[in-house]
């Protein structure tokens, strides 16, 4: 089932990328990123059948990091929203050079 898993992984990952590209809502973009991370997890799990349990250990790490990322990211979104009353990316251009 490796080939099918990898195909699914690729599809999910690309869907996540497309989501990041077409959305302007910061929260949805965030969710898309989570989808991309999950897709990668599936790769790890699929390969762990052939390469041992280390892949599953990495999934645990990825989950931890994505949890931390979600916590900080959402806190940032809240902070931005508090300042600008919006989370639309087109209105957030503090980095303008």
């Amino acid at each position: 089932m490796l080939a099918e898993s990898l195909a699914l992984t690729a599809a999910l990952f690309v869907i996540g990328v497309i989501g990041v590209l077409i959305h302007r809502n910061a929260i949805i973009i965030f969710m898309c990123v989570e989808l991309m991370l999950t897709a990668v997890n599936l790769t790890f799990v699929a390969f762990s059948r052939f390469y041992g349990t280390a892949g599953q250990v990495f999934v645990v790490f990825v989950m931890t990091v994505s949890a931390a990322e979600a916590a900080v990211g959402l806190a940032i979104i809240i902070a931005i929203f508090r300042h600008r009353q919006t989370i639309d990316l087109k209105d957030i251009n503090l980095l303008k050079g």
């Binding site: 599809a11 590209l21 809502n25 999950t38 799990v45 762990s48 599953q56 250990v57």
Partner: protein
């Protein structure tokens, strides 16, 4: 090298795969954050099922607990906290031209990944076919993750705990806002 799978196994594998894919597609096309989040939860669940089918029972459980349970709930909390989902916020996605371009880019990316995925696997790292089976017999579902986690990857594990600590602190500081910080 892959074992022969029973038809019922294959059927369920494809079933959850299609559900995951369909949910993901629905998720990515939603404009409302709440709807999107619920579809994403659906994807996570079906992925959890796939993990279990791929002999990663512990990871499957964690997927449900951490992703579907914790992370997505936090997302929904934030959505509700910010009172999003308001009709004015629904004009979210970009225009058609952008969507078309994003679709093309996605197709390109997909084909590239497919090409790269055809790379031959490194044979010398492959473990014996019943390795995971034996680990499972010996250590059970949690133990077969815990043993390498606390032995081989102990340092990484400890560093992850530091990362979580930092993330919590950061989230708290950011969440308190400027007024609170100034106090």
């Amino acid at each position: 090298m892959e074992p022969h799978y029973s038809l019922i196994y294959v059927f369920h594998f494809y079933l959850f795969g299609v559900i995951a894919l369909a949910s993901a597609l629905t998720f990515v096309t939603r404009k409302s954050p709440v709807t999107a989040a619920l579809w994403l939860v659906n994807t996570m669940f079906s992925l959890a099922a796939l993990y279990v089918m791929l002999d990663a029972q512990f990871v499957g459980v964690m997927q449900v607990l951490v992703y579907a349970g914790a992370i997505m709930v936090v997302f929904l909390f934030v959505v509700m906290l910010l009172n999003l989902g308001h009709p004015s916020e629904l004009a979210d996605a970009r225009g058609t031209g952008w969507k078309l371009a994003a679709g093309l880019i996605g197709l390109g990316l997909l084909s590239e990944i497919m090409v790269i995925a055809r790379t031959k696997l490194p044979q010398q790292l492959i473990v014996p076919r019943d390795f995971n089976e034996q680990q499972f017999q010996k250590l059970n579902a949690v133990g077969m993750i815990a043993e390498p986690l606390f032995k081989d990857y102990l340092l990484a594990f400890e560093l992850t705990s530091v990362l979580l600590l930092v993330a919590i602190t950061g989230a708290v500081v950011l969440g308190r806002g400027r007024a609170a910080g100034a106090r």
